[in-house]
Amino acid sequence: MTILQLLWYGVIALLFAIFLFLDGFDFGVGMATRLVAQTPAERQLYMRAIGPHWDGNEVWLITAGGAMFASFPLWYASLFSGYYILLFLTLVALILRGVSFEFSAHAETPRELAVWQWANFCGSLLAPFFLGMMLTSMIQGVPMDAQGNIWAGFWQVCNWLSIVGGVATVYFSFLHGLHFLSLKLPAVDARKMLHVSSKVYWIAYPALIVFVLLAIFQTDFYTARPLSTWLITVIILAATICGHWAAAHVRGGIAFISTGVTLAGVIAFIFNGLFPRVLIGVPAKNSLLIQNASASPKTLTIMTIVLVCLLPIVLIYFIWSYWIQRKRISSSDIQGENGY
């Protein structure tokens, strides 16, 4: 394994982690439009909170996909063709969520508005579920042939660990969304968000324990890389406790960071456990490795140069766009279509 291969494995992990950190709260906000908001006006306000940002956040997923294609084409080919239906369902969910923002701004009757708000909710709920399922089903090992084709049957895709993984992704995204809203909405609503979050948080502990137990039996993570795996597990748990405490003590900022760390931690957990493989095959000799799934050194070098040049610039204006819109929003912000 070369330095560049290692680097790009890390970059892919980082891109997925940033994606889940950012779009995670968009998903959570979408869920909150049904689970917390009571009126169409409130729903519109929640959606307005992420209106300027969700698209940019989603681009991290697009970038992760593109970067995976560029740096590990064999991984990209095997994973996405192997998880065909799950990925397809994720895409449909993302499509519904994506158009709902613009279409709901054009709705004129309560019923029309309800259609797009439901689209937003369903998309926001299902996208992280299917994505979480895909990531956690993959780590249990999947039937692969020598060409790297995945021949996963229904039970390989849909099993206890993958369902718990999907639900956990949804669940932490929801909390994350509540915490984001607590930073963006007027003070009264903000407190409500944290109140809800601190209640819902109790489910996190049993969920985490079930997940860890399943992971111990269903994956080789805790035996193959015990030290780092346990370390990440502890970090996820600590972030959970910290977030819970912060939510209970009305500290939205800390709560937000904590759920973000939890979500990014899930990605770290997966990528750490996979290493040095990218896909765990059954039989093991058919596994795809970082070493043999990557693009040529030349392509990796070029991609590294591109990344080093472009990413800092992207980060600057990306963060700037949050900074200039950091103020809390209120219902007066959603007068007029599209924010004008």
Partner: protein, 480 residues
């Protein structure tokens, strides 16, 4: 297995469907973003509120297009892995990089600045705010370069070698991939076609606006002018770039060219142009045709002499060249009729757009300004809102089907590119869901665009309210 169609057919259908649908919105977004940017720039320059209102109004159309474009674009990013995994394995070393660069360089820019642009009209000075729409437009244009770089490699591979061990393509020169001559004829053609598209849509919708209400006359006449200028310049440049492309593919992909002209047997010298032709693909003959003498030589070589090779000859040449590697059973004839007619529709759109926009500008010039009174002409313009999409779809059918049987020209066949693991059942399922979804998205997008048009701009409060607006806006309703 569900019969009727093979995995290969279903995968090809899916690619065609998702890409054609996506590419309705790509040129529309690039084109309308440019129109909006120009309008807002005029506003910054002249301080006339009319132009701010124009930028905001057409901005709504742009945003609707952008929304559908973005969500259908996500499919593009993943479907190579999903449906074409062997292609992805074969091409990954080349194809992934432009895709990743596209995301890093273009998508972030587009998505970030569109978010800023939408929500900060009151926050920034007009001179600063206008920068955001220009950056959005720049982002979408840059994205076109990179995806077309990837497409160009498939049309005309450059800067690679075949890895002896894996049989996959391996990058040898990134510069050669970016400097691909195919790219630098394809990119201008596509970008100018996008400008044409944006212009024709603004023009056509303005024509409908003028037909509906006399009160918004100033608004829609001015909008029509911006649209007409864009579409005129766009169409002339598209045609010019198309001419370059034509002369490029004569040498590079002669089969594609011969098919677009329906030529089976080598032509005489000088070559006549078949304006329309009855083509029989079974017997590989042209039953009858309307010929214009000399024109094909002129179109192909810009000269009154020169013959064009027919498909039968090219077929033999291709067999001689590729049989050793791909076997003698390959069929090198592309779908001739589709290419022949697609080309005529595409080129027709170009010529018709140029003509219509010229007339529109003639009749709306400051001294005359009778455009709004020519209802028959406004109807034609209005219907032509949909015209550019015929052109762009035709263009892609030529480009992609004309590469048959290759997915990567001369290197990999379409049949070898498909995912071995997907099943016909899965593909039926996804095709049907995508189809229904696209009908809904496209339908709603058009419906909301039309409704936005009917409500008209907020400009000029002194006007009598339309009865339509009594319903008001849901948002206003529940805020009251």
């Amino acid at each position: 297995m569900i019969g009727l169609a093979s995995v290969l057919d279903l995968s090809r259908f899916q690619f065609a469907m998702t890409t054609i649908f996506h590419f309705f919105y790509v040129p529309l977004s690039i084109g309308t973003a440019l129109a909006v940017a120009i309008m807002e720039t005029i506003y910054v320059r002249t301080k006339k509120p009319l132009y701010k209102s124009m930028a905001q109004f057409w901005g709504k159309i742009f945003l609707l297009s952008f929304a559908v474009g973005v969500v259908t674009g996500i499919i593009q990013e993943f479907q190579f892995g999903m449906n074409w995994s062997n292609y992805s394995r074969f091409m990954g070393d080349i194809f992934g990089a432009p895709l990743a660069i596209e995301a890093l360089l273009a998508f972030f820019m587009e998505s970030t600045f569109i978010g800023v642009w939408m929500f900060t009209w009151d926050r920034f000075k007009p001179g600063v705010h206008v920068i955001f729409i220009w950056l959005t437009w720049l982002g979408s244009t840059l994205s076109a370069i990179w995806i077309l770089a990837a497409n160009s490699f498939m049309q005309h591979p450059t800067g690679f070698e075949i890895n002896a061990q894996t049989g996959h393509v391996r990058l040898t020169s990134f510069m050669a991939v970016v400097a691909n001559p195919q790219l630098w004829v394809e990119f201008p053609h596509v970008i100018f076609a996008a400008i044409l598209t944006g212009g024709m849509v603004v023009l056509g919708m303005s024509a409908f606006g003028l037909l509906r209400s006399k009160q918004k006359r100033e608004f829609f006449t001015k909008s029509a002018k911006v649209g007409a200028w864009l579409a005129l310049v766009g169409s002339l440049l598209t045609i010019a770039a198309g001419d370059m492309q034509t002369r490029y593919i004569i040498n590079d992909q002669p089969m594609k060219f011969a098919a677009t002209e329906g030529i089976y047997k080598d032509t005489t010298d000088p070559a006549p142009w078949q304006a329309v032709a009855l083509i029989d693909t079974k017997t590989k003959t042209v039953k009858s045709s309307v010929d214009i003498p000399y024109l094909l030589s002129i179109l192909s070589y810009h000269s009154t002499s020169g013959s064009v090779k027919g498909m039968n000859t090219i077929n033999k040449e291709l067999h001689a060249k590729y049989d050793k590697k791909f076997g003698a059973n390959m069929n090198y004839y592309v779908p001739v009729k589709t290419l022949f007619w697609s080309f005529r529709f595409m080129a027709g759109v170009g010529v018709l757009s140029a003509l219509l926009t010229f007339l529109a500008l003639l009749w709306s010039r400051a001294k005359k300004d009778t455009l709004a009174d020519k209802r028959w002409f406004l109807w034609i313009l209005g219907i032509c809102t949909y015209l550019p999409f015929v052109g762009t779809t035709g263009g892609w059918l030529i480009t992609e089907l004309g590469r048959y049987p290759w997915v990567v020209y001369g290197l990999q066949t379409i049949a070898d590119a498909v995912s071995p693991t997907t099943t016909a059942g899965q593909l039926w399922f996804t095709n049907i869901v995508y189809f229904v979804l696209f009908c809904v998205l496209g339908g709603v997008m058009v419906f909301y665009s039309r409704r936005t048009l009917h409500h008209g701009p907020d400009y000029d409060a002194s006007e009598v309210n339309d009865t339509k607006q009594v319903h008001g806006n849901a948002r206003e309703a529940y805020q009251a």
